[in-house]
Every structure is written in structure tokens, then in C-alpha cells.
Amino acid sequence: MVQNDPLLSSQVLLMGKSGSGKTSMRSIIFANYIARDTRRLGATIDVEHSHVRFLGNLVLNLWDCGGQDTFMENYFTSQRDNIFRNVEVLIYVFDVESRELEKDMHYYQSCLEAILQNSPDAKIFCLVHKMDLIFKEREDDLKRLSRPLACTCFRTSIWDETLYKAWSSIVYQLIPNVQQLECNLRNFAQIIEADEVLLFERATFLVISHYQCKEQRDAHRFEKISNIIKQFKLSCSKLAASFQSMEVRNSNFAAFIDVFTSNTYVMVIMSDPSIPSAATLINIRNARRHFEKLERVDGPKHSLHMRMR
């Protein structure tokens, strides 16, 4: 099937200089274990081994560019068309510690040229990473350099909430029909009398959308929940198990995390302990069908687009 061919699936390209933090970022967002020997001596040659899929049909590929290694340079130049094919999203990571600003901008622009040639509809995001170290306003420069393509810039660091928020925004922009999804989510929450309902992306547990009926105290709760579940997924993976659903209950609340659509998980929080679990689970199951229909609206169009290439 066309979808399974890695060279033809839509890809999310994560690019940047070697050492700019891409591997850490991928590991943190996708809960991949970083084994010691992948602290590699050379650059990442990742395109054949990519198996991180997210948003259902997107494949994440990491690429180093701008390295000193001439072998890498040549490979990069010769494989350019392959690399930049079917790019749905380009996420370019700038290391704020870098001393070679001119060179970084130069490589960024050559990537943009390749994108313009091969995947002109790609969405472009720039992350200025390791922002816990220095504060720099590069946004205007980057926007200017990216013309005619539009790019969105984020400041990120793995040590505060900016990384999670940046990737959440990226994923939010990639979900088709996201506003409709939000509206339906609100209705769903009000019908089942939930305190809060969250919609997570399946692979990364990034919060796509949420509804809350009253003010919550902790602004960082999305990231914390995401971290908890990803840790649990890591534990599960050690048993070669995959996470499907979870219920947490005590005298004050009940929380349900369950598979929702092909791309999402849902988390429902009920503060009325008298409502039995079975009732909420039935509600979630019924809602699932409705939301899947919403997603499938865009689905066939997408694979149609693939086949035509």
C-alpha cells in the first residue's frame, strides 16, 4: 500500500545542525529511549530507519545539515530530492548557542529552496532551541529570510514548558478540522457532565484541544499528564505491550484515558464520584464513532492526494 512505503508517506522533517538538540527533542516528545550508542559520532542518517509515525500517517525523519563532514555534505546534496519529497511539515531547529549564525542561515535557506522545489505546500516551523541559555530575538530575521514561504517561530528549551507548547501548536496546526473537533469536544463534555476533557495526539500525547468547565489551578497540568503517560508507555514497551486505556479513581475524582480516534486519545475527568465508570465508558465509546467520522472527512482526500503523485 502506498501509505506503507516510507519514501512516499508524508513526512515531518526535523532538521538542524548536528548537536542542536533534535535527538533529545524527539526522544522527549515521542518518548523514545535514547540508547547510549546513538550518541553518534557522525550525523544522523535516519531516513531508512524511521518508524516514528504520528498524526496517523505522518512519519518523522531527522536530518542533520550543515555538518563539517564532507561525506555528509555530498550525501545531502545528492539525495536532496529524495529527502525533501512529500514533506508535510518542516521543523528547523536553531541552536541558540551557535557561533556561526551566517552559516546557519545559509543552510536554512538552502533547505527552504529545496522545499520550494519539492514540497511547496509544506508548513514551516522554526524552533530556536536551548533558550534556557541565552535570550535572543531571531524571529524577525527568520521570518524575513523565509519569504516567500511563511514560517512560524517558537522559542524552546527542554527545561521549561516552551518545548511542549511549541510542539502542541505545531500539532494543532496539522490536525485537519481542528476547530470543528474543538466545538464537538465542548458539546461532548457538557453532555457527559465532565469537569475537563482533553484530546491528545496518539504518539506524542501532545494536547490538541481541551475543554474545562471551571478554572484549574495548575497551568502545567497538560505537560505533566503527558510526561506521566509517556513514562508509563516506556514501562509498557519494556514488556512489549502497548498502552490502550487507563482509569484512575479516588474519592474526589475519576479520570479516564482511552483510545479515541485513529490519531487521538481522550482524557475525561469527572468530579462526581457517584457516576459509575461504566456510564462514562459507554459515553466515550459512543462519542468515538462520531469523532471518527469527523476525522475521516479529511482522510480519503489525503490518500487520494498521495496516489496521484
Binding site: S24, S27, I28, A31, N32, Y33, I34, A35, R36, R39, D132, L133, I158, W159, D160, E161, R217, D218, A219, H220, E223, K224, N227, I228, K230, Q231, F232, L234, C236, L239, A241, S242, F243, Q244, S245, M246, E247, V248, R249, N250, S251
Partner: protein
């Protein structure tokens, strides 16, 4: 199901997928992924863990699972770790305790700092104050105490300020030897070390002499009390408050320090006096007690007993007041000529007092550390001055009262001993208590001094505070040997104090602080003639102080 704390795990296998129902049980083998504390046990009952701190904790927890524990890739760098005030310890029951950071407990109010300085400065030189005033003359003695206090206070202020004028370097944990090393390189480091050791070893020798003295007198008191022997052989006053003159001086022009050799050993022929002799046997008995204590690796046990020093000083003040009330004042002012019972008001032996006072007012090697923990740093100078004032007043009080109360008609003021407790017979109960207290206090402080010597010397020579048992043992043997020799052959604590005081004071009180101040002014280009002349004069004073010990 009850509460946050009871959770159960059960696994249900359904086909190819595992569905987990989570009710976590708080067993030690299951680490809770996240527990939001409901309450903080700490100073402020209303406080909660800040949301940023909780988020960072969650992140660090998660990142720790992504790599091997030895991999440094996802270890939080220093600048993201919160300050000690924001660090909490989570207990398994969901409460969080705020850890009192080391810094917050080390800030003392002014009164505590002043007291600490007073406590540290009060040493055995308090026992030599009456003798020192006697050597200098009553009026001149008082003047010299005041002047030396002011002089050493100014030099101490210079030491305190020396770290502030160093640019571009973080001097927050520097002590005075580090400052010397910064300005004068290796020479500065070694000279400040050597002179600091002089003061410490001098103090240890004085301690040995005094401990032998007190042990002798305590033993003699107990023996006489048990065997009901009353000794009235020493020359002294009659009556209940007896004051004795151990070495009556038939030649009024010499100074009493040469009279050690006229010791008239009590020839009652008793075995006890043969085996219990102040200079012949007791110094050696002390070796058995103290040498093992010196070899301990850590002196923190002995640091608990520093309160005994305060108690001893307070008791001495009480004792002095009591004796003065009982004996009354005996003062007669002869300005420059001496009489049979009194000394002139101005004597040429005054450098001996200034030597003693240099050590009495010495705190320059640790004042920076003591002041570091002052809560209001802007009051440092004021607090230092107050501490010096208190110390000076204490010394003046003890010295003047004993000198004035010394019963001069039967006894000459020349009889005042370098250790004024020697002027009281061993049968005096109050003085016996003082001697016993001081003996106990010195036994507990002696290992502490030995530890300081070892740390400074071994640290500089070998880089390690305890390079090996043999090194430390040899050092202890040398130090103890010096003490024993002094106690055997020259147990005059007045001389030991003044020589070691003048010597170490030369470097650490007069020369180094002044030179450092002049050098830093010079480097900044702010050196002016009055300042240079004044500080040069201070250096000369230090040198004169040292020479005066030998020639006067």
C-alpha cells in the same frame, strides 16, 4: 476505596492488548509517577509547591527515564535547578517538606556575631592581664590596653575589607590567607600560614603549661583536703582570703620572670610531692591523656565544648569581683619611681604588655569567616567595634581589679604572677573551682587547636587534611614535645604569650593587612601620601613591638 494513599495494581490480559486498571498500592517497589502535595510542612502553612517547581520536577522525572543513568544528555544543567529555597523533599505520603537551605540557617543577628567574636577572642591571655598591667605600670597599662585595642581593631577592619577590593574574582569563600596569596603569591600564602601556625602552636604550648599548673593545683587541693594537711609555707597574707607571693623577690629591680629558678620545692619529703610536681612530672602525665585525643581524625566532637570557655570567663569575672570586694583596693600612685610595695605608673617594661595584648586581641585569621554569617552585612564594622569594645572592657576589668585589689602593704605588686590564679593558694575553694573549670575547658579545646594546626599545615604541605597516621602522629609528637619542654623548663606563660603574640602579630595584624591595603590602593591608582605614611607607621609599630619583646 479510600484516600489518595491506597492504590492497587491488577493486570488484565485481553487478547493482544493489555488493559491496565490502576489502583496504585504504595509499596516501595512501585515509585509513584507523580504526587501533588496537599500540604507543606514548613514555616508557612499556606505555602504550596510552586507550579514551576512541580512542572520541573515532573520533567526531570520523565527525562530520567529516557536515557541510561550514566548518560549526561538529559541531565538538568545547574542554571535550571531551582535555588535552595525552592527545593522540597517529597515524602511518600504526599506531603512535601521545605528544606532549610544551608544559607538561611547561617545568617545570624548582630548580637550572636558579636558574642561569637567575643567568645573566640577571649583566651588564656585574660589570666595574664594583671601581670601585664604590672609590667607596664598602672596608668600606662590602661592606656596601652585602650590603644592596642584600637590599633588591632583598625587592622582587623582592614582584614575584613581586604576581600572587597578584589575585582573580577568571586571571593565569597576566601579567608585572609587566600587574600595574601592573591596579592603576594606563594610568599603571601606561606608567610600567612607560618605566622598563623605560630599563634596556634604558641597557644597550644601555653595551654600545656596552664594545664599542668591547674592539674597540679587541683590534685594538691584534693590531696590536702583528703589528708587534712594545711600548708601555710608560702609567703603571703594572713586571713581567710589569702593571697600568696610564690616567688618573693628580694631584689626589687629585676623582673619576676627570672625567678622561676628559685623554686623552693616543698621539702617535707613526702612521696606525693615527689610524684606530683608542677614542672617535673605532671607535664608528662598529660601526654597520656592528650596525645591520643590529638590523633582523632575529626574534631567536631570537641567543638561542642566551646561553651565551656564562655562559662569559665564568666566565672572568672565573678571570682575577680568577689576577690576585689573582699580584699579592697590598694592603690598608690608613684609616677616614675618605684617603691617597695608599688610599681611606677609608667615603666619601661611596657612592650611586654603590648606583646600580650597583640595575642589577646588576635582574631585576624578567622574574622572574615565569623563575619560572613552576619545577617546585616552593612553593620559589620559596627558589630566588630562593639565586639572589640566588649573584649577590651573584659580585659580591663579583670586586669585593673586584680591589680588594684592585690594586697600591697604586706605584698609587693611585683608579686603578681603571669597567671594571676597562682597568687591564690591551692586551698582556696573558689579558685580551685576556677582551676578545675579551666582545666576541663582547656582539655576540650586543646584537641581543637591541634586539629586546626593539622588542617592548616597538612592541607598546605600535602593537600590532604589527613595524609596518613604517621604524618599526623609525628606532628602531634612535635607539638606536644614543645609543650612539655616549656612546661618543664620555662613555664612562664607571660613570656610565651608575648613572644608568640608579637611574632604572629607582626605579620598577621600589622604588616600584611597594611601592605595589602596599600597594594590594592596602588593598583587602583588611589594611593595618597597620608595613607602610605600612616600604614607604613603601622608596619613600623609591628616591628618595634617584636623588637621590644627582646630588648625590654
Amino acid at each position: 476505596l479510600s484516600g489518595d494513599q491506597s492504590i492497587l495494581v491488577s493486570f488484565i490480559l485481553t487478547g493482544q492488548n493489555y488493559t491496565f486498571f490502576f489502583y496504585f498500592l504504595f509499596a516501595l517497589s512501585f515509585r509513584p509517577f507523580h504526587v501533588e502535595p496537599r500540604n507543606i510542612v514548613g514555616d508557612d502553612a499556606q505555602e504550596q509547591v510552586s507550579s514551576e517547581a512541580a512542572a520541573l520536577s515532573s520533567r526531570v522525572h520523565y527525562y530520567g527515564r529516557l536515557t541510561a543513568s550514566s548518560d549526561r544528555l538529559l541531565v538538568p544543567p545547574d542554571h535550571v535547578i531551582p535555588s535552595p529555597e525552592d527545593i522540597y523533599v517529597y515524602s511518600p505520603l504526599g506531603t512535601a517538606f521545605k528544606v532549610q537551605g544551608g544559607d538561611s540557617t547561617a545568617k545570624n543577628p548582630s548580637i550572636v556575631t558579636i558574642f561569637a567574636i567575643w567568645n573566640t577572642m577571649m583566651g588564656t591571655s585574660i589570666l595574664s592581664m594583671p601581670w601585664g598591667i604590672k609590667q607596664a605600670g598602672f596608668t600606662l597599662g590602661i592606656i596601652i590596653i585602650v590603644l592596642m585595642g584600637l590599633l588591632t581593631l583598625y587592622c582587623c577592619y582592614r582584614v575584613l575589607k581586604s576581600t572587597k577590593s578584589i575585582p573580577h574574582v568571586d571571593t565569597s569563600d576566601w579567608e585572609f590567607p587566600d587574600v595574601c596569596k592573591y596579592y603576594f603569591g606563594g610568599f603571601g600564602k606561606w608567610s600567612s600560614l607560618v605566622f598563623s601556625l605560630v599563634s596556634l602552636i604558641g597557644a597550644m604550648v601555653v595551654y600545656w603549661v596552664l594545664m599542668s599548673n591547674f592539674l597540679f593545683n587541683t590534685g594538691k587541693f584534693i590531696y590536702n583536703y583528703v589528708h587534712n594537711v594545711s600548708t601555710s609555707d608560702a609567703f603571703g597574707t594572713n586571713g581567710t582570703d589569702r593571697v600568696i607571693c610564690p616567688y618573693p623577690n628580694l631584689d626589687p629591680d629585676g623582673d619576676s620572670s627570672t625567678l622561676q629558678y628559685y623554686v623552693k620545692e616543698n621539702s617535707t619529703g613526702q612521696v606525693f610531692d615527689l610524684w606530683w610536681s608542677k614542672t617535673n612530672t605532671i607535664p608528662f602525665y598529660l601526654i597520656v591523656l592528650l596525645l591520643p585525643l590529638l590523633n582523632f581524625r575529626s574534631a567536631s566532637f570537641f567543638a561542642r565544648f566551646t561553651f565551656l570557655g564562655t562559662l569559665s570567663v564568666v566565672y572568672l569575672i565573678f571570682l575577680v569581683t568577689y576577690k576585689a570586694i573582699r580584699l579592697g583596693f590598694h592603690l598608690d600612685f608613684h609616677w616614675f619611681d618605684s617603691s617597695t610595695f608599688f610599681v611606677p605608673e609608667f615603666r619601661s617594661l611596657f612592650p611586654q604588655l603590648s606583646g600580650v595584648l597583640t595575642l589577646a586581641f588576635f582574631i585576624h585569621n578567622c574574622i572574615i569567616t565569623l563575619m560572613k554569617n552576619n545577617k546585616h552585612q552593612e553593620n559589620n564594622v559596627r558589630d566588630l567595634s562593639l565586639a572589640y569594645l566588649l573584649v577590651g572592657l573584659t580585659y580591663l576589668y579583670v586586669g585593673v581589679l586584680i591589680f588594684a585589689a592585690f594586697p600591697s602593704p604586706p605584698l609587693s605588686k611585683e608579686c603578681i604572677e603571669p597567671n594571676f590564679l597562682d597568687n591564690f593558694p591551692s586551698s582556696d575553694v573558689l579558685v580551685f573551682v576556677a582551676r578545675a573549670c579551666l582545666l576541663f575547658q582547656m582539655t576540650s579545646v586543646y584537641p581543637l587547636l591541634g586539629y586546626l594546626v593539622r588542617v592548616q599545615l597538612m592541607g598546605q604541605l600535602f593537600g590532604d587534611h589527613y595524609p596518613g597516621f604517621l604524618h599526623v602522629f609525628i606532628l602531634n609528637i612535635l607539638v606536644v614535645g614543645a609543650g612539655v619542654l616549656m612546661a618543664r623548663f620555662y613555664p612562664n606563660i607571660g613570656s610565651i604569650i608575648r613572644y608568640s603574640g608579637a611574632l604572629c602579630g607582626l605579620a598577621l595584624v600589622f604588616v600584611l593587612p597594611s601592605l595589602i591595603h596599600l597594594t590594592s590602593l596602588n593598583r587602583r591608582g588611589e594611593l595618597r601620601w597620608p595613607s602610605a605614611v600612616f600604614h607604613g607607621f603601622l608596619v613600623l609599630l609591628g616591628v618595634a613591638n617584636l623588637f621590644g619583646q627582646f630588648f625590654m
